[in-house]
Amino acid sequence: MKYTIMLKEDNGHIQATVPALPECVVKAPTRSEAIRTIRKAISDIISRTEIIQIDVNAEPKSGTLLHDTPWEWCGAFKNDPTWGELFDDIERRRTPYQE
């Protein structure tokens, strides 16, 4: 399974985080060490994790707003070469109304 990793320079170290696993954070002196360590950390978490789906008999209140800024998603697609292409294509496809 593939996971998106965010690598950020932090006081001379590289901090690696996984947007899909907010509790998974590692810091290492080099980029390659950070990637190696986070791979192991993800593997450790996943090996101890059971993923299930449950039905909850409740609906969110209508008009409820999301309040917490999802900083973990800011820059989440920085290394995805298709991200820019996706939005370039959106711009190209914005055209006047055609009957």
């Binding site: 999301l66 820059g75 697609f77 939005f87």
Partner: protein, 142 residues
């Protein structure tokens, strides 16, 4: 509310530093994307997933799911019947001079009195007054 155009969503995904500083200064509850932008982004990702060559298909499908999760982080403003009436007026006035998606976003902004945040200010000139337009990419927050 600050209504983000698709190009601002792009820069959030890329972690643009100026946009980051703007977002730091407002409440997330005051930021939203219109359903027009949701539709554009999902259309692109869905087409990529459905047309991808075998060697790219797994990546394309994984990106579709990641993008859905990304969009779920945002408040979404629905294009409703009231917006449709405003859009009809806009279409009559601007005929073929303005892009249809821009007019849809404008209609949502007019109905909800939102500020459209976009890097393409010129596309919205003549559609919205200056105080309903903002560029969070080229202009630093004050």
């Amino acid at each position: 509310m600050y209504l983000w155009d698709s190009n601002i969503l792009r820069y959030f995904g890329e972690g643009h530093p100026t946009l980051y500083r703007h977002v730091q200064r407002v409440l997330w509850a005051d930021i939203a994307i219109p359903t027009v932008v949701v539709a554009e982004v999902l259309r692109g990702r869905c087409e990529f997933a459905l047309k991808a060559a075998p060697e790219k298909a797994a990546l394309a499908h994984s990106l579709l799911v990641e993008t859905q999760k990304f969009l779920n982080q945002f408040n979404v403003v629905l294009f409703n019947d009231e917006c449709a009436k405003v859009l009809e007026e806009l279409r009559r006035h601007h005929k073929t001079h303005k892009k249809y998606a821009d007019m849809m976003i404008t209609a949502v902004a007019k109905v909800g009195k939102h500020v459209v945040v976009t890097r393409n200010l010129k596309d919205f000139h003549g559609l919205l007054p200056q105080n309903q337009l903002a560029n969070w990419i080229d202009i630093e927050p004050t």
